[in-house]
Amino acid sequence: MEFSIKKWTLILSTAICVFALIIVVLLRSQSLQNAPQATPTAVFSPTVVFTNTATYPPSTATPEPSDTPTPTSLPEIPDSYYIESITGHRQVYSLGCEASASVDWARFFGTNFYEFDFQNALPLSDNPDYGFVGDVNSEWGQIPPYAYGVHAGPVADLLQKYGLPAKAVTNFALDDVKRELAQDDPIIVWVIGNMVWSQPTQYTDKQGRTTTVAPYEHVVILTGYNKDSIRYMTNGRFYDTPTDVFLTSWGVLGKMAVIYDK
């Protein structure tokens, strides 16, 4: 009898250990999935100053409880915040970063659609403020009137048609970015390449409307920040970049973004 009790105790404790080990492995793999990657080499700009902290994401900071908020007060911004549950995919079309990011962004909020359908539902225009410029399969790096991409307005309009409260904004402040992220709302932003700088140009379309365009326009999704850096996702991979590097790149096209406007 004594032997039998010992035996069952042994079996039970082994089973508990195995179960605990499985839980640890699962948690670890979930954490790795969202880990930032090493900096990609930006080959198209000789002035790349991109440095990066290839670390695992810090744990999500718990916002400090604030004083009783008044209806007009903005939520306090925590020192750091990382959205953990967002995932992405590699863009299908050479100029399809806007549609690709839109698919990932919408999926985070529970809305699913195909990149192909989103891309083809965008209006076409010779002005990116009004529609997609050129063919989505064209070479990257050109500016209008050659194939280019699309800016935030038409993207937000189309996301709204899919039922999402998307809002296009420009000159969005860094604090507002952090505030959005801290509310677990990823942001689609218009940057240059993989967070570099290129020369912005004033472009006038056939109807005389002007807009700012720049070579290697690219769209990524911001997913977190700390006091020194911003985390973004592009083609399904995560990167951390110093905040000033991000601001320089984002500033080229006027700090343009699509936010979740609750």
Binding site: Y114, F116, A121, L124, D126, G131, D135, V136, N137, A147
Partner: protein, 299 residues
């Protein structure tokens, strides 16, 4: 290869787009088939047996949508389309190549052509609600701002066309190319229909394309490859050879010879062709037919 499918037929434009050893990719999947891209040329794989220069026709339900995905790399080699990542091969050897036949000589007068074109559009919009650029059929309709703009652009284009003013035509086309959304925006479909009518007419009259049409067509195609989707640019490019879906060629031939027996079937297919591509292409054809008669009356 894990699975292989024998294709049933291929269109002439698709055949020309495939050269041995070329690499392409799957652009996207729709409910009606799969778009491939080779260089700047798009090919549509479908089960539908409507004759088209742009398609590869497969046996019904032979390709599951789970077997293929947007972004898949595809190779053309030795008469096979190969998707190595899916271990899938589409065999194209010894299959019929569909090429549009040349039209019979035109026998209808200008007035008869106009009558046929009006009859077609009237039938269409009696049976189905108006969509796309169908509103152009009503010259005196009260338009919304977008419609007013489209009407203005097309008027400027057709006026320049009547005057054989190439720079003005291309300038006007700048506003029309890429106007709309989708794989083939409405403006492109309208221009493709417009060009197709003229090329088919030249073929029906057994004439050589005149310099104006040649230069206009080439100018429009050049602009299309810069400004709009390549699917649209491909259709416009093909129209310069008189290549298009049999549906649209039958309709143009009907204007020339009153040849359509089953009007309702044609109009049903046309109405459901794309989002509004069928209607928009028809409006381009009808506009070209009207402008042609006005030009003849003037001269």
């Amino acid at each position: 290869m894990r699975s292989s499918i024998q294709a049933l037929s291929i269109g002439i434009y698709a055949r020309e787009s495939l050269t041995n050893g070329s690499e392409g990719k799957v652009m996207g999947l729709t409910s009606k088939g799969v778009f491939l891209l080779f260089g700047q040329r798009s090919i549509f794989i479908t089960y539908s047996d409507h004759d088209s220069p742009f398609t590869i026709v497969l046996p019904p339900e032979s390709l599951s949508s789970t077997e293929i995905a947007a972004g898949d790399v595809i190779y053309y080699s030795q008469n096979d389309l190969l998707i190595p990542s899916r271990e899938l091969a589409l065999h194209l050897q010894d299959i019929p190549v569909w090429e549009p036949s040349l039209p019979l000589p035109s026998i209808n007068s200008g007035a008869e052509r106009i009558r046929n074109s009006r009859q077609l559009v009237d039938h269409l919009f009696t049976a189905y609600p108006e969509k796309g650029w169908g509103f152009l059929h009503h010259p005196d309709q009260q338009d919304g701002p977008d419609q007013q703009q489209i009407r203005q652009f097309t008027r400027v284009f057709t006026r320049a066309f009547q005057e054989r003013d190439l720079p003005a035509c291309l300038e006007a086309a700048d506003h029309i190319i890429g106007l709309g959304s989708g794989l083939t925006p409405s403006g492109d479909d309208w221009l493709t229909g417009y060009l197709l009518f003229h090329i088919r007419q030249i073929q029906a009259n057994n004439q050589r394309p005149n310099d104006f049409i040649n230069e206009l067509g080439e100018g429009l195609v050049r602009k299309a490859y810069q400004k709009t989707t390549w699917v649209s640019a491909n259709r416009m490019e093909a129209s310069l050879k008189g290549w298009s879906e049999a549906l649209f060629l039958d309709i143009i031939d009907h204007l020339f010879r009153s040849s359509l027996v089953d009007l309702s079937t044609h109009l049903s297919v046309l109405y459901n062709y794309g989002h509004s591509s069928g209607v928009d292409t028809l409006m381009g054809i009808v506009t070209a037919c009207n402008v042609e008669l006005q030009s003849n009356n003037k001269s």
